[in-house]
């Protein structure tokens, strides 16, 4: 049973460019959350998608946007990249409202480096 799959694993972009990160949730999960983990920090909540809609958003600018597809997979898009966007981006999936009580399943992340 595949867990959460994220692609690509590593990415190098130039400041000002745009990037798209992808996530396939664990089988049976319909909710996807994205987190940003800067070096030496804990993950920070970006947003959550359920039924193809953004359900909640953290303290991130509009340069960060996302999408969820009918098969529950999700994309995270970041426009006008800044050096400070360099981080590990983690995708977490859960079933409906179970995430907070059962814990999430995290992917291994995408390491984004902005130069």
């Amino acid at each position: 049973d595949a867990g959460v799959t994220q692609s690509p694993t590593h990415l190098i972009k130039t400041r000002g460019q745009q990037v798209t990160l992808r996530c396939s949730p664990k089988s049976g999960h319909d909710t996807v959350s994205w987190y940003q983990q800067a070096l030496g920090q804990g993950p920070q909540f970006i947003f959550q998608y359920y039924e193809e809609e953004e359900r909640q958003r953290g303290n991130f600018p509009d340069r960060f946007s996302g999408h969820q597809f009918p098969n529950y997979s999700s994309e995270l898009n970041v426009n006008a990249l800044l050096l400070g966007d360099s981080a590990l981006y983690l995708c977490a999936s859960s079933g409906g409202t179970e995430g907070v009580t059962s814990g999430y399943t995290f992917g291994s992340g995408t390491r984004l480096t902005v130069v």
Binding site: V4, T31, S33, Y35, G40, Q41, G42, P43, Q44, F45, Q48, Y50, R55, Q56, G58, L90, A92, S94, T97, G99, V100, T101, S102, G103, Y104, T105, F106, G107, S108, G109, R111
Partner: protein
């Protein structure tokens, strides 16, 4: 706003010694509490969780944690550490906001094991 504090950024213990990682949270209601472990370059793996019932919870890999409401703490313990326990450990509080769930993480504690 809720917050999670892990007072120890880095802890070093000898293999076979006991371990306690501290976590304090700030949250008005009964929290959902989690401990995650992250190996270098990897995503997060759930060690254990608490949201009701017995305040001493058992997790995977021989870890346990105790919820103390009076101290707003959820410390992680292990009686005898193994070299493979070297990793970053994150405490997190789960919240449900407007139907969406999110995790608020502490800064993390890096655990080094001396042979």
């Amino acid at each position: 706003a809720q917050s999670v504090t892990q007072p120890d950024i880095h802890i070093t213990v000898s293999e076979g010694a006991s371990l306690e990682l501290r976590c304090n949270y700030s949250y008005g209601a009964t929290p959902y509490l989690f401990w995650y472990v992250q190996s270098p370059g990897q995503g997060l793996q759930l060690l254990l969780k608490y949201f009701s019932g017995d305040t001493l919870v058992q997790g995977i890999k021989g870890f346990e944690a105790e919820f103390k409401r009076s101290q707003s703490s959820f410390n992680l313990r292990k009686p005898s550490v193994h070299w493979s326990d070297a990793a970053e450990y994150f405490c997190a509080v789960g919240r449900i906001i407007q139907g969406a769930q999110k995790l608020v993480f502490g800064q993390g504690t890096r655990l080094t094991i001396n042979p």
